[in-house]
Structures are given as structure tokens and as C-alpha cells.
């Protein structure tokens, strides 16, 4: 009884009101902004219809923040940025200031503290990523480590405006793809069916829901060694790993056979073309901690060709739409295989039913 009395019912307050944490210049001009300029990489200047101005300085961090780092970010806000902080969808930190003379000291403080100013306009933005080995229950690889390794090599592209248009990179540690769509996406691709621990299945897994979870109906109930379990038709299995989350004894992750694949051309914006999904360009890349050099090398190769060949304002999908996929594979020297030809539902729509061919 005493324990129950101690339980405190939650206050279901939901999503907090953001206005209480908003810079006063932003509150004052809410819904009344006129235009913006980009004074330098990592810095935005927004001008309101009232004439008020606000400068934003954007910086990249390690995303997994320890309390020391979080307080360091707060110290910078207190000393240089009126105490306000905004986080972007790609986990960058933004400081907003209402006076131009605050901008350079703020940039200096951010750099001195070890954070990286950039990520605006036609740069390579911060890689959006997931939890990986640090915290996920089904990861095929790490997330923060892959991103740290890649950003170490792409840091100049984050800090400068070298790209034809912005480049959003994402990573995902399984084929559910929590990292989302990206101009370039580096995702786990399993290549072998799950290894089943039949002793555990009956106790751990709700078998009908595991059967239902399979996208290709390759799982069926079976008696194995006299125990109720599940079996996989390995000829049908696409090695996606969808059975692993609801049934951990169906281990999909494999130190050797869980590979990385690279996809390009995902674009969430409606600008120019309609939003697009990413397409497979490379696979079979070793999952190679702690630095994943093979994956980074391919990303850099794609970026180099994109930078040289795309026109201003073309996102990666716009660029490939213009030059065509054969040219993409020619320029990047990535092998084109039978696995690039889609076999999933709606696949015929991805085939070339015309004589539109570039020579």
C-alpha cells in the first residue's frame, strides 16, 4: 500500500509551448519575415518586414552530447547569444543574435570550444543518423562512429559552399532505415538469412506476429527438435531483418555478411521535381569499424563527381535525372549489377520503356 501511495500520476502536459523559449526578436516578428541572406558559410541573416534583423550561427556537434558538452553549449549561449539555442532537424546547434556585432565573437567562441561552424546553403550538411551499437536493440553497425569518421573527412565540405546544391547524407544501422532519405544514404544491407536459435523461439517470440512481419512470407511455424519454432524458406528470404526485432533468436546481424550499401537521390523537398526516394548505387561494402574507410571512400567519390558535373542548384537526384543513370555509373566508375534492377512491387515502372538513350 505504501508503495502505491508513493506513485505519482503523470501530468499529461504534452508538447510544450515554444514561445517561452524563443528569442524576443523572433517573437516580435513571428510570421512577418521578409527575406534572408547568407553572409558567410554557417551564418544566416533574416530580415523582418519591420526592419528587425536576426543573425543565426549554425554549428555541428557530436550529437550524442555529454553533460559537459551540453553545458559548454549553454555557456556559449549565455555569454555570446542572449541565452537562446535552437536545434535543427539534423541535430546542429543554432545560436540567434539580434546585433551584427555579436556575430564574429560568437563564431570565435564556437570554434574555440571545438564545434564546427557551417552546414548552411550548398554545403554537405551534418549527417543525420540513428543510435547504432550505442543503444539500438537491432543494429547491424554503429551510427555515431560512422558519422564521426565521415565528418572528419567531409569537414571542409561542411564548412564551405562547394557543392552545386545542399547535400543531405543519412546513415541507418538496419534496413528499416530510421536515418531516412538522403541525397546519399549509407545503410546496412544484410546478405544472409537469419540464424535461428530454435531453443529460444517458443519462449521469446510471438510466432504468428513474426510470420506476419515477413515482407515475402518466407517464415512459417515448424517443430524443430520437438520444440515449436519457426523456419525460414531461404530461397524466398530477402535478408531484410524484419523478423529480428520481434524475434531476437532470429539473429540477422553477422560480422562478415552484414554489409553496407549506398543509395543516392533521396530528396524531401518539393523544389523543382517532386520529392524522391533514394536509389541503390553500391553494395557489398564491408562494415569495418572503427573508421569504415571503404564506405567513406565511395561517398567521397560520388561527391567529387557530383561537384564536378552537376550544375548550380541541382540536388543529386536532379543531376542524375539530367545526365541519366548510365552516365552516373560511368562517371563514378561504380559497377552496375543485376541487383540494381528493381524486383519489388511496382518495379516495372523503374524500367526504361522508351528509346530515350544517351550516347
Amino acid at each position: 500500500m505504501s508503495e502505491q501511495a508513493a506513485m505519482r500520476p503523470p501530468i499529461e502536459s504534452g508538447c510544450p509551448d515554444g514561445f517561452q523559449y524563443m528569442h524576443p526578436t523572433m517573437i516580435r516578428n513571428y510570421g512577418n519575415w521578409a527575406y534572408h541572406e547568407d553572409p558567410e558559410p554557417g551564418v544566416l541573416l533574416h530580415v523582418a518586414k519591420s526592419g528587425d534583423k536576426i543573425w543565426t550561427v549554425r554549428c555541428g556537434t557530436q550529437r550524442i552530447l555529454d553533460l559537459f558538452t551540453l553545458r559548454k553549449l549553454c555557456d556559449i549561449a549565455d555569454e555570446y547569444a542572449d541565452g537562446f539555442i535552437h536545434f535543427t532537424i539534423r541535430s546542429n546547434v543554432e545560436y540567434m543574435v539580434a546585433k551584427e556585432e555579436q556575430v564574429q565573437p560568437l563564431i570565435k567562441a564556437i570554434k574555440d570550444a571545438g564545434f564546427i561552424v557551417g552546414g548552411t546553403r550548398n554545403s554537405v550538411a551534418m549527417i543525420s543518423h540513428t543510435q547504432g551499437w550505442l543503444h539500438c536493440d537491432i543494429p547491424g553497425t554503429d551510427a555515431s562512429g560512422v558519422v564521426k569518421s565521415m565528418m572528419d573527412e567531409l569537414i571542409t565540405e561542411f564548412q564551405e559552399w562547394n557543392m552545386p546544391n545542399r547535400v543531405h547524407i543519412t546513415t541507418s544501422c538496419c534496413q528499416i532505415n530510421c536515418g531516412g532519405q538522403g541525397d546519399i544514404a549509407i545503410n546496412i544491407q544484410h546478405t544472409k538469412p537469419p540464424k535461428i536459435n530454435h531453443d529460444l523461439v517458443a519462449n521469446v517470440c510471438e510466432r504468428p506476429s513474426v510470420v506476419a512481419r515477413c515482407p515475402v512470407a518466407a517464415i512459417r511455424p515448424a517443430l524443430v527438435n520437438g520444440k515449436p519454432s519457426l523456419e525460414v524458406d531461404e530461397k524466398k528470404c530477402i535478408c531484410c531483418g524484419a523478423c529480428f526485432p520481434p524475434c531476437p533468436p532470429m539473429q540477422i546481424n553477422d560480422a562478415e555478411h552484414s554489409k553496407l550499401a549506398i543509395w543516392i537521390g533521396g530528396n524531401h523537398s518539393n523544389a523543382r521535381s517532386k520529392p524522391s526516394f533514394q536509389k541503390l548505387v553500391a553494395a557489398g561494402i564491408p562494415n569495418n569499424p572503427p573508421r569504415w574507410p571503404e564506405a567513406t571512400a565511395i561517398v567521397k567519390r560520388i561527391l567529387k563527381v557530383y561537384k564536378e558535373d552537376a550544375k548550380d542548384w541541382e540536388r543529386i537526384n536532379d543531376w542524375v535525372d539530367r545526365i541519366g543513370w548510365p552516365r552516373f555509373f560511368e562517371l563514378t566508375k561504380l559497377p552496375f549489377t543485376k541487383f540494381h534492377v528493381d524486383t519489388w512491387r511496382g518495379a516495372r515502372a523503374s524500367l526504361n520503356a522508351s528509346t530515350h538513350i544517351r550516347f
Binding site: G60, Q62, D66, D137, D142
Partner: protein, 417 residues
């Protein structure tokens, strides 16, 4: 004595110019005054190194929640807890951020102080669904930490088959392209469904995302079940002096190549006197020309939203974009906002009743057809919902006359109003 582990592979991630998450965790392990934090983070580094060596993850889910709720926590129990006992329980609390992700340092410090009492000292702003992720605490401290921050205004987000934490862009607070009050839409929608968020009982997850313009910085169309996108329906605003200024600065060829020729519906043309001609009836509000020349071109003033339903990621039948359900809706009066919430209620009710277990809204629509879904939520068909009409003649159409009559009636009503 705090147990430490050799981590040669992770040590490599302390090198290089980008800020290192390993250095941050190690600083907690070596320098934080609190022994609990030292122990947990050393142990975490040990397990992570083990993952790097064996290329496997060692966390398993389970059932952990706070009193009164059924979700909001990502439970993590270590499968190798005997080797790394101090992080044997390492749960994450998903906490809803303020709409738009605005923070002050004093509020962040308050959260940091609470987390220091009860957790590992690791936090992320934000996870891919949009939650503040407080990473790493025990089952017992999950409750204590929640109790403390809940008292000063923070609530858990969603985890499991439920309405999830929403996301909205910075929008009207700092962006000239914003055509909506993202903040208000976000809070009205999600705060109307807190019961569905905190007590997971839907077929699967349901996500709201709000972007103030078709640039869709929140990836709403691609990754939310209910995507609200700001737009406008009158003419875009053109400042011809600024157009001339851009041409002077960048050259005529640049404007032709990068603005006029990139218009997806060929709605732009450059006049001989270097003014810009806009065919507003054929402008699809893609945002490209406004992005290139934000000083010269702006959205019109007849703002509203487009609603798309059914976006999602890969599991189970493949990636899906949201589909247009409402081409345009004004959001001016309180009744307008209430109507939007009502559509969300209809959608979630229909989803709850008709989706299969672990089926997302978009997959349900794929299975039953858009028209059945529209009839279920009481919305009429509209040619803006499709890319093209049907190509296959294999359909039964004996109610054609009645359906054509409905369209004619709606058109007549529209003409009369």
C-alpha cells in the same frame, strides 16, 4: 573502485577534427564527480568496444514504463551485463521538445541538473522522430527522472504502436517562406492525442509533421503519416526591382538557367526589359525560384495548408510518400484549426479500426485503396490527389452517373459560394 575497460578501437574515434562523441563519454567516465555516472559510462564504453570488436549489438528491449503511462521509454537491457554490469540497465526516455525546438540555456541547464541526478549524463537533441533522447538510466531512475522533469513542464513522447512525438520547422519564427503557424498546428494536433500517445493501442505508429512551406524541411511527406505543409493560392509576390538587381549581379544567363529553366511547370519567363513574368495559374508552388531569389520572390498572402497522408519508411511493403488528401485548406479561424484536428481524429479512428497489426496508414491505404479511405474519413475525391487517372479498364463502373452527378453538384455549390 570504478571499473575501467580497454577500448583501443574507440580510442581511434577520438582523433580527427570533428567533435568526438567518444571523447565526450570518456570525459564523463573520467572526470564527472558522480560515481554512478563514471561507472555507467565506463561500462557503456566497454560494451561499445565489445560491439566494435565483434560487430554485433548487445541491447535487448523489454517492458519499462512510468506510472500511468504505457510508452515513452525505450527499455534497454544488456545481453552482456555480466561483463559490463554498471550499464546492465540503460533505458532511454523520449521527451517531447517544445514545438519548433527552441530552448534557452537556463532550461537546458535545469534538464541537465535533473539528468545528472538520475542518468548517465548522455543526451541527444533529437532522435529521428523528434524526441529529446535522455540515454541511459535504470528502471528505477526512469521513474524518478520523469517525476522530476514532469513537475516542471516536460512530458514523455511516444514509443510503440501509438501517436508519436511530432516535429515542426522553425517556420514563422524565422523564415520568410513560412505560410502557416507551424507551432500552433503542431501543438494542437499532437496535444489532442496524448492519450493515444501515452497508452499505445494503435495498430502501429502514427506520426504528425508540420512544414511551413513546400521545401518541407521536416521531411513530412516522406516520413510522416499526417503531413501538414504550408502553401498559398494567390499569386506569388514579385519585386521587379530586385529581379533586375539579381540579373545585374548574376547575369541574364544565370537567371535563365537557374530560375526560368528550372521551373518544373514552365511558369516563368524573362521579359525583354529584365522583368519576370509569372504564370501563376500554372505555378505548382515548388519553391525553387523563391529559394534562389528570396529577396525578389515571396509566397502570396492567401496562406493555407496542403495535407498529405500515408508517408513512411521501408518496413513492411516499401517506402511511401504521403498522398494529397486536402489540396488546400485555410487555417485562419479557430474553427479552421478544429476542422484539421477533426480530420486527424477521423484518420486515426479509421486507422485504429481498419489497419492490420503493424500496418502503417500508407500501407492500409495501399491495401484498401484511396477511395475507401476517403469515404471512411468523409472527404470527397479531387483530381489533385492523383498524378494521373487510372490506366486500367479493369474496374466496375456501373455507378458512374451517380458519381458524376456528385461532382457536378459540388462544382455547382462551389460556383454559387
Amino acid at each position: 573502485m570504478v571499473k575501467k575497460y580497454e577500448t583501443p578501437m574507440l580510442d581511434v574515434l577520438e582523433e580527427g577534427p570533428w567533435p568526438s562523441f567518444i571523447s565526450g563519454i570518456r570525459r564523463l567516465a573520467n572526470e564527472h564527480p558522480k560515481e554512478m555516472i563514471q561507472e555507467m559510462t565506463h561500462s557503456l564504453l566497454g560494451q561499445l568496444e565489445h560491439s566494435y570488436e565483434t560487430r554485433k549489438g548487445y541491447w535487448k528491449g523489454g517492458t519499462v514504463s512510468v506510472f500511468g503511462y504505457g510508452g515513452g521509454i525505450i527499455p534497454r537491457f544488456s545481453e552482456v551485463g555480466d561483463a559490463f554490469p554498471a550499464s546492465r540497465e540503460f533505458h532511454t526516455l523520449r521527451v517531447q521538445p517544445p514545438a519548433g525546438n527552441y530552448y534557452t540555456s537556463s532550461m537546458l541547464r535545469q534538464l541537465a541538473d535533473s539528468w545528472e541526478k538520475f542518468g548517465s549524463g548522455l543526451v541527444t537533441f533529437h532522435g529521428q522522430t523528434g524526441n529529446i533522447m535522455f540515454i541511459g538510466t535504470t528502471t528505477e531512475n526512469t521513474q524518478h527522472f520523469f517525476d522530476e522533469i514532469n513537475e516542471y513542464g516536460w512530458d514523455l513522447g511516444g514509443a510503440g504502436p501509438c501517436v508519436r512525438t511530432a516535429m515542426s520547422c522553425i517556420g514563422a519564427a524565422r523564415c520568410e517562406q513560412s505560410c502557416a503557424n507551424e507551432h500552433k498546428i503542431h501543438r494542437m494536433l499532437v496535444n489532442n492525442f496524448l492519450d493515444d500517445m501515452h497508452r499505445p493501442a494503435l495498430p502501429y505508429k502514427f506520426k504528425f509533421k508540420v512544414s511551413g512551406c513546400p521545401n518541407d524541411c521536416q521531411n513530412a511527406i516522406e516520413r510522416s503519416d499526417f503531413a501538414v505543409i504550408g502553401t498559398w493560392r494567390d499569386d506569388m509576390v514579385v519585386d521587379q526591382d530586385q529581379i533586375k538587381y539579381y540579373i545585374e549581379k548574376k547575369g541574364r544567363k544565370y537567371i535563365i538557367d537557374n530560375v526560368v529553366n528550372r521551373c518544373p511547370s514552365q511558369a516563368l519567363s524573362l521579359n525583354d526589359d529584365d522583368t519576370l513574368d509569372v504564370d501563376n495559374r500554372n505555378c505548382v508552388r515548388c519553391m525553387h525560384c523563391l529559394n534562389v531569389m528570396p529577396k525578389a520572390l515571396s509566397p502570396g498572402s492567401d496562406h493555407g495548408i496542403t495535407l498529405l497522408i500515408g508517408g513512411k519508411r521501408t518496413l513492411k511493403i516499401g517506402d511511401m510518400m504521403g498522398t494529397v488528401i486536402l489540396p488546400f485548406m485555410k487555417l485562419e479561424t479557430e474553427e479552421d484549426y478544429e476542422r484539421l484536428v477533426e480530420i486527424a481524429e477521423e484518420t486515426i479512428d479509421f486507422f485504429a479500426e481498419n489497419a492490420l497489426e503493424h500496418e502503417r496508414t500508407g500501407e492500409m491505404i495501399e491495401r484498401i485503396g484511396l477511395v475507401n479511405f476517403l469515404e471512411g474519413i468523409g472527404i470527397d475525391v479531387d483530381p489533385n490527389m492523383i498524378s494521373s487517372p487510372r490506366q486500367s479498364s479493369y474496374v466496375r463502373m456501373d455507378e458512374w452517373d451517380q458519381e458524376a452527378e456528385k461532382w457536378n453538384e459540388r462544382q455547382a455549390e462551389k460556383a454559387a459560394s
